[in-house]
Point group: C2
Chain length 118, copies 2
């Protein structure tokens, strides 16, 4: 059922490649990748859990409030990371020319449904 | 002259609060904050240099290409970080309801001018 939500995110966003739910140690709870996604989806989680933890510390130090969402844009992909709770986060990776606004919207609306089952 | 560019970013973006140019160790080269910006602008640089360095490592590990831009959305602000070079980056902080698309556009067009003077 997490898988269905992840598939809907990837297939519903323009340029979606892969999506996963993971915990703050970088272990994937569930993942879904479109055929031919040009990377190892498990690596995404591990690498970005480091990023997420450094962002958490930074926002706490800045008293900027709770970090909700991070988008990382590189030459080959854009990855959006949305915090579901202190423990879990949701990622969606797009082609660099993907529709960032639509992806953010889909993730925002999926978050409460995912969180209810975590 | 860097100051003028930073002021144009803050004043030209809807909801702009502060902007700075810094090096990868977190030291600000130049900064500009609108009166009443609700945070210490120098802290932003130091905290986000940690974030930027973890993202650099993550994107290298993932062979995702060079990281170009990161946007961090929290309860109280949105900060966009744009890499100018391996050594320098540009940040622009907005109110959470600020116009992210316009801010990204202004940063993208300012980047070559700033880089030419670094």
């Amino acid at each position: 059922m997490f898988k269905d939500e992840l598939r809907a995110l990837v297939d519903g966003s323009d340029g979606g490649l892969a999506s996963l739910i993971m915990d703050s140690s970088g272990i994937a709870l569930e993942s879904y990748a479109r055929d031919g996604a040009p990377f190892d989806i498990d690596m995404i989680g591990i690498e970005f859990s480091v990023v997420v933890n450094s962002i958490k510390r930074a926002t706490e130090m800045l008293e900027a409030g709770v970090a909700r969402e991070v988008a990382v844009n590189t030459e080959k992909m854009t990855t959006i990371i949305r915090m579901l709770s202190d423990e879990y986060f949701l990622t969606l990776t797009l082609r660099p020319d993907g529709n960032l606004g639509k992806a953010r919207y889909l993730m925002r609306t999926a978050a409460p449904r995912l969180l209810a089952d975590l």
